[in-house]
């Protein structure tokens, strides 16, 4: 019987610890598929963040490093400068990349480091139990914004792709989502491209994946996907924010 569907080789057999309905599993799979398709597992080094995906080092079969909170792009820089022929990626959440690690994010993008960043934006701190993230929406109720995020005292959500698009150096910035089959297919293309760019030496590539957190949003997995469509995407429009290939 022909195999029509199988687990990507770049994923280990470890059981994922993520909550039911969480989209980390989908994105892990897409990253692993990209690694498989490009045949780069043996020379890839991944950097796990602090947050829900801290244990990503157990799930990817390539060599892995666990970084301190927000510093994955700096760690990735150290790895890439040491081994320029290796493929280096970071996998970071919104607290890690857009709050505590914002300086590293912007500076690494500004240097145009030839690395790949997978940025999971689910508008909340998941691992610590649902606090306000830099990307939490206006009015979003979290443990630390119990009356809803108030822009007057808690500021506005940050749009990372738009922010980084103002820089000259990044090669590729795209925002995707994984709340529907169509969106997952587009996310797969974007993630593959972000890795291929690095293989081809094109420079800094970041894919922002608008994701879900059913547990801390207090929604069923299905309703969480709806929330992405109705609330998240209008504030975080999907699309390509920068692609140096397209600029001639």
């Amino acid at each position: 019987m022909a195999v029509v569907f199988q687990k990507p080789k770049a994923l280990t057999d470890a059981v994922l610890h993520y909550c039911p309905g969480c989209t980390h599993g989908i994105v892990h799979r897409l990253v692993a598929e990209a690694i498989d398709e490009l045949g780069i597992e043996g020379r890839t080094v991944g950097i796990a963040p602090v947050g829900c995906s801290v244990m990503a080092y157990d799930y990817f079969r390539c060599d892995m490093i666990e970084a301190s909170h927000g510093r994955a792009p700096a760690v990735a820089t150290g790895v890439k400068r040491s081994m320029p022929d290796n493929i280096v990626f970071t996998y970071q959440g919104d607290g890690d990349l857009a709050s505590i690690g914002l300086c590293e994010t912007v500076s690494t993008a500004c240097r145009g480091e030839n690395i790949t960043i997978i940025f999971i934006n689910n508008a909340i701190y998941g691992m610590t139990g649902g606090q306000m993230a830099p990307t939490s929406l206006i009015g979003q109720v979290t443990q630390t914004s119990p009356y809803g995020r108030d822009p007057k005292t808690q500021g506005m959500p940050i749009r990372i792709c738009e922010l980084l698009a103002s820089l000259d150096a990044p090669a590729y910035l795209e925002r995707v989502a994984v709340n529907s089959v169509a969106h997952v297919r587009q996310a797969k293309k974007a993630i593959l491209k972000a890795f291929r760019n690095q293989v081809e030496g094109k420079g800094f590539s970041l894919v922002e994946v608008v994701s879900t957190c059913p547990t801390n949003w207090g929604l069923t997995p299905d309703k969480a996907c709806q929330f992405v469509e109705e609330k998240m995407i209008p504030f975080y429009p999907l699309g390509v924010y920068k692609d140096k290939e397209k600029i001639v």
Partner: protein
């Protein structure tokens, strides 16, 4: 080929590191260590190495974490306030058992403090600079020659014991010029990662994946890693303590001092000897591990100790602990960037001789 050249202490560290096979330097400007970064920025591009001026001290130490994870000899350098920022990264290096070189050319504090020499990071460095139970190797050079020699020692000990290692110099050591014989034979940087089977160099599809990590959510596992690490520290203390003894044969007073104040103290000791005062010195070279044994041995015969320090008495406490408070441990200190003259130290020695 060994050659004798006149160099600043900071530059001697940089050149020695290159000759030890270090090709990855990540730093951020801060006085009084910036010559290290300046030297690296000139040399590294010519020899295929990396000089990267990071966006912050925090980023720099994490770049070191990344480069060290690949098994390369990697380093950063800074001065006291910058080391505070690096503390988190140093804790992660220690937690992941990664060897790397960190240079701290100390200036006065706390806060922004000043830019003149100090030894006031003594506690901070010797107790493990960062959160959690850990130590790093701490070496205290007192000459430009030692700045160069200890750079090599720091890389070698760090790799042997899988620990971060620090050169802890006072600002004087970084800024002064002296003749120095640099290591003649250079280490081929390409040979180093092969000695580290734990490094993340890519599996090449030939082995299970390596993971560089300091997270252990199971308490019994985390406890085990702590115990194992401290067994290594015990071995380090047993085998790698280094110190210099000066005129200790018949000494009744034992001066204990490091770095620039050890040099000032030597002059004071010579002057005191001319007055008939039997005084000598034990100069700790490794601050972690602290040379407790020679101090305890000295305590059996001397009347008392005198620490000469550029802080408010931090090493003084370690001497008291080393000798189990069996003798008086007096102190002669200046802080804030002030350095005691030989006359001040001599006066302190005379006082203890009475």
């Amino acid at each position: 080929m060994s050659e004798k050249v006149l160099m600043k202490g900071n530059e001697a560290i940089a050149e020695a590191a290159i000759r030890c096979g270090c090709r990855h330097y990540f730093g951020y400007p801060i006085t009084p260590q910036t010559e290290i970064a300046a030297y690296m920025s000139k040399r590294m591009p010519k020899i295929g190495g990396t000089f990267l001026q990071a966006e912050s001290e925090i980023a720099a130490i994490n770049m070191v974490y990344g480069a060290a994870s690949t098994g390369r000899r990697a380093m950063t350098s800074s001065s006291s306030p910058g080391i505070s920022l690096k503390a988190e990264g140093i804790s992660y290096l220690a937690g992941a058992d990664l060897p790397a070189l960190i240079v701290n050319v100390q200036r006065g504090g706390p806060g922004l403090g000043g830019i003149q020499p100090s030894q006031s990071d003594y506690f901070f460095m010797t107790r493990g600079p960062g959160h959690g139970d850990f130590h790093i190797i701490v070496l205290a050079p007192a000459t430009v020659q030692e700045m160069a020699d200890m750079t090599r020692l720091a890389f070698e000990l760090g790799e042997k014991y899988r620990m971060p290692a620090m050169l802890l110099a006072d600002g004087t050591m970084g800024q002064m010029m002296e003749p120095v014989v640099l290591p003649g034979e250079s280490v081929d940087p390409e040979t180093i990662p092969a000695t580290k089977p734990w490094a993340v160099t890519g599996t090449q599809m030939k082995r299970e994946h390596n993971i560089i990590n300091s997270l252990y959510l199971k308490p019994d596992e985390l406890e085990r890693t702590n115990f194992e690490r401290f067994e290594r520290y015990a071995k380090l203390e047993k085998e790698e303590c280094r110190w210099e003894e000066y005129m200790m044969e018949d000494a009744e007073i034992c001066v204990v001092s490091v770095g620039i104040t050890a040099r000032v103290s030597k002059n004071a000791i010579v002057a005191a000897r001319k007055e008939g005062i039997k005084v000598g010195m034990i100069r700790p070279i490794t601050l972690f591990p602290f040379p407790k044994a020679p101090l305890a041995k000295a305590a059996e015969k001397v009347k008392g100790f005198l620490t000469v320090e550029l802080n408010m008495g931090q090493m003084n406490e370690d001497v008291k602990l080393a000798i189990n408070c069996s003798k008086k441990v007096a102190m002669c200190n200046r802080v804030g960037g002030m350095i005691p003259g030989a006359d001040e130290v001599l006066a302190a020695i005379r006082k203890e001789a009475k």
